[in-house]
């Protein structure tokens, strides 16, 4: 998880991924950032995020993203 947060930090500078819980709702991440995160998940973790999962709830915090990844892996 920590590694994941490091990658996020590299992707988007200046955002507190450790503690923020309203990343998307507060505008800290925009749609371009979400695309890049998904690209990163595809490249580095080999996880395909289907469009149906692109919801604020799944991207509002690093933990939420992590949970989503776990769920997608299970399938």
């Amino acid at each position: 998880m920590q590694e994941f947060i490091e990658k996020l930090k590299k992707l988007k500078k200046g955002v507190d991924f450790e503690h923020e819980t309203a990343l998307f709702d507060n505008g800290l991440l925009d749609s371009f950032d979400v695309i890049q995160i998904i690209a990163m998940l595809d490249d580095d973790y080999d996880i395909t995020v289907p469009p149906s999962q692109i919801m604020p709830v799944n991207f509002n915090s690093a933990q939420a993203m992590w949970d989503m990844m776990k769920r997608l892996e299970d399938e």
Binding site: A22, V57, N60, S61, Q63, D74, E75
Partner: protein, 439 residues
Amino acid sequence: MDRFEAVCAVCAPCLHEGRTQHILPRNLKNESEVISEGNHESSNSSGAREQRSCGAVRGPSKKFRVWTGSGHKEKIMKLKHWIKIAVFAAITIGVLLYASNLLRVANEKDAVGIYGFYQEPEDSLDVVLIGSSYMYTYFYSPLAYEQYGLTSYALASSTMTAPLYRYAAEIAIEKQHPQLLVFETGSFCYDIQQDEVSLRKFLDALPDSEIRTRAINDIVPEDLKSSFLFPFEKYHSSWNRIGECLQVAQDKADIRGKGYSITKNYATTPQYISYSRQTRKYNISEEGFKYLEILLDYLKEADIDNVLFVRFPDMYNYDVQDSYTKMIDMIREAGFDFVNLAGAIDDIGIDMNKDFYNNSHLNIFGAQKFTPFFTDYIMKRYDISTDHSPETDAEWEDCASYNDQIIANMEYLTENKAGGYLYTQRDFLADYIGIGEAS
């Protein structure tokens, strides 16, 4: 962060205005396992904080579903709410009605003049004059009273057209049962009798009443009816003439305060022009005959003894058509009278270079000559009694007491060609000459 809090991040939408609840999947309880449930605080649609229930479930496909319940009771309508709504509505409608009345001014002078007619005590008028601007510029009622003891009123509006005559007659008879009705015949020459502006100048000045509604349904063209029956539709846009409307309201208030109008719809422009000889036709139109017939039919059945149709004199030289004679015949056949005053300029004593303020209207000088002439004529021709109740005489004595002041004012202004616009009661009483304001 435990699972529950992660779930409540979903309720983030609740924190934004506008969401009361999410859909509750119907297979929730059956197929899914409830992971967590609880309450949290969020804002409802009106922004107030409240408790909401929410939870997280895991469906059989392991897909994450969340649900929230509304968990709060919206304020249900009680009696006190109904009362509030009713009172609010009542006040609003009241304000709108007031505004509607205030803004319903097609022509300032007519609005006040006709209002004044309705203020006159019932059955106090001997003569009612019905027609267009001839009636209220040629004839000065308080002067007729001063000189002959005759009470009269010009129930007339600017450019009044023939279809309105029958209804004006009905109003006059119903309210005053006058001994004589006088009509002017010029209106029958008009081509477009249902000209909207002319209709409005009279009809919108009438108070809402059964006869007004009847007149509208009879005369007004279909496509305009609704804006006559509901004048607000038209007059709301008069807000940018609010100054004029307030002036009219003030004038009406003055009349109400005194109990009656002082100058009885008289109006004039203080100037004189020199004689210019222009010719025009005097021809009764098809429509004119139609409305004349309607009027005559009505008058035959109505409670009125004496009716006089008058052709008024003015500066024009008229090329009189055959229809004119036909009209006179129609009037006489119905049992009513006609008199042509166009040829009586000399008898009246009118000075063509001093007594007109435009081609077809006498000024104060002309009115002072016409009024006694005409009053004398009708009193000789008809057996008009000038017995009135003491209240009526008192009212008219009072009105006549202003005559000298008013006439002096207007003569002064007319001599100096002050001109400009049509003067009415509120203008007459100001202090122009410095002998003190007539109050």
